[in-house]
């Protein structure tokens, strides 16, 4: 019995990680209709920034604050000076732009930090284990889950309960009208994109200690993030939460029950969702 509980915890922790990684992607897509291919590269940048800060200061908590802030700035710059210019040309150009950006970041990271894998060390409470009714479990995995739960809750509150959220949602539906009401719509979109980048920076800083920091880490996570938002419904926050949970548990119990095709289970789920509900679990029909 306790065995099953352990696998459930594994699933929860991984679900937390998946949500952290996909939340920014789904936010940007949902609010701006931009499919950001550079998302995973922002995630990688977050991890490398966190690594650099951790090496210099030895303060892991600091990395959780600084890495997202750095990505917030980078995201704002990318939106203001690159994405906005090609927006009028349509989705394909936006896609190509972020795709190219992903390559530039990838090579830039190798250029600055080299090819060798690096590590972010956590210490103190986060590096310890905790007893949960007979199970000894690493605190860091629980921390990832807790952080993602808080983040999901926070995002839902901002988007659905605050004035900023109302403006953003309105700007998505009818940007001309919102503009006419005296709100600077380009400014709003810049903010959304910057927050999306900051979220991926946070995800990178959080994932670093668990998954390592290396130049291939963007490619490794990109597919997972896309599967989450396709299954959950492109742009749906609730969908991302549900899809992360399902995929996390599927991954964990898949290894236990069907070790030979645990990886295929996730793609089978995606195929099933695409057949039965092409817009995703919580997606809106276009």
């Amino acid at each position: 019995m306790s065995d099953l509980a352990v696998f459930f915890l594994h699933g929860l922790a991984y679900a937390g990680l998946l949500f952290l990684v996909s939340s920014g992607l789904t936010l940007v897509f949902g609010m701006m209709n931009v499919l950001n291919f550079a998302h995973a590269s922002f995630y990688m940048l977050g991890a490398y920034f966190a690594m650099a800060i951790a090496v210099y200061t030895g303060q892991f908590w600091l990395t959780l604050a600084v890495a997202p802030l750095a990505l917030l700035v980078i995201g704002a710059v990318v939106e203001r000076f690159l994405l906005r210019k090609v927006h009028v040309l349509g989705h394909v150009h936006e896609l190509l732009l972020t795709f190219g950006l992903a390559y530039i970041i990838q090579e830039g990271v190798k250029w600055i930090w080299g090819n060798n894998p690096q590590a972010i060390n956590v210490s103190g409470l986060l590096a310890s284990t905790v007893h949960l009714g007979g199970i000894v479990y690493p605190v860091y995995r629980l921390f990832i889950f807790a952080l993602s739960a808080l983040l999901g809750l926070g995002m839902a509150l901002v988007i659905y309960k605050t004035r900023i959220g109302i403006i953003v949602r309105a700007a998505v539906n009818d940007s001309a009208m919102v503009n006419a009401l005296g709100i600077n719509v380009p400014y709003v979109f810049m903010g959304v994109f910057a927050v999306g980048a900051a979220l991926s920076g946070l995800a990178g800083a959080t994932a670093g200690p668990l998954l390592g920091v290396f130049p291939g880490m963007a490619g490794a996570i990109l597919v997972d993030a896309f599967v989450v938002i396709v299954v959950g419904g492109m742009g749906s926050l609730g969908g991302a939460v549900l899809a992360s949970f399902i995929i996390g548990q599927l991954q964990s119990f898949g290894v236990l029950l069907f070790p030979d095709f645990s990886l295929a289970l996730i793609y089978m789920l995606m195929a099933l969702v695409l057949v039965l509900k092409p817009e995703g679990l919580f997606g809106e029909k276009s």
């Binding site: 065995d3 991984y14 090819n115 894998p117 590096a127 390592g212 291939g216 490794a220 030979d260 645990s262």
Partner: protein, 402 residues
Amino acid sequence: MRKFAIVCLTLALGLVLAAGAQAAETIKLAVMEPLSGNFKDIGDRYAEGVKFAAEVINAKGGINGQKLEVILVDSELNPAVATRKATKLIMQDNVRHFCGGTGSSVAGAMEALGDKHNTLFFTYGMAAASLTGDKCNRNFFRTCASTDMQSYALATWVAQQGFKKVFCIAQDYSFGKEATAAFIKKLKELNPSVEIVGEVLHPLGTKDFAPYVSQIISSGAEVVFTSNWGNDLTLLLKQARPLGLKAKFAGYYLNDDLMVKAVADDEAVIGSVSAEIYMLSIPGQANADFIAGFTQANGFYPTWLRGKAYAATMFWAEAVKKAGNDKVDDVIKAWEGLTYDGPAGKWTMRACDHQVQQPVWIAEMVADNPYFKHAYVGPATMVAPEKISVPCQETGCKGFAK
């Protein structure tokens, strides 16, 4: 008439000069490695070993009076690219000798080129047993252990230690499967009462090892065999300890110092063992001299891949020396049966399949080591070549067609 004579003389002189230039020409060795992309760190380290071997050889006057010239080629880990670049070297620069350590697919491409242009290829890193087994080739030599030999060495160690419950975890592709199968086969042979309490293959590039680690823990394994490399090894070790795994690992590649650094948790590697044909802690003067020379020239240790590539290149140079020239047919003939006593012990190139017969070294990872601040290999003990040898008739190599 006089004009004609002058032309003739000039031509003759030209020919003599050309012949002279020919004699002083270098022996060229092209190194096919991924020098860009995700496996750059692997390719770079192999190349450093080959380059240092060339420095040592040239400092002593070269091979048969000819200097050795090393040409680094970025294979991009892509057989088509490797074929294109190697063909150009064969056609334009008359390169006949190639080596490489990364990617069995590249080996396949180089074998095909070897058949076509009669070039020689030796590998110091490609471990797939089939390369000197059913895919064996007259122009292909292996100077490192095959998966069979490396797994047999680990099985020998596990049997010696008297472990009763063993778990096997490996990457889900031909290499991981071959390595695990060979390990289990040898272990059952040495100790029929041993229990394999679990055997799992995980996808390449697995991010979360927690479900696998929980399976290992609940299996009650005393030791865990793994042939994992790169990030799949880093993350397995890094994530296993916080989840409470007490069993130690018996692995192929734990003596990768970059990997140990990336784990960044000494407790996660201490006590586990690594099996390789080269490691820093191999006893003997030859290795001490090599380490001293390499460290002086480069400023860092010739760990793992560097040492493997160095010893392999020195062995190849011995064959060229014995042949007296660098003609591929002569070198092949000279290399078969040749023995080389280098930093990693005595190596003999077996004629039947061109698979070197050599010791594999086993070392436990320890905190206190003379090389790094982080944990690294302790004293190495030898598993003798005859203990891990695969007999000629069992390799699947049906001899070389000529």
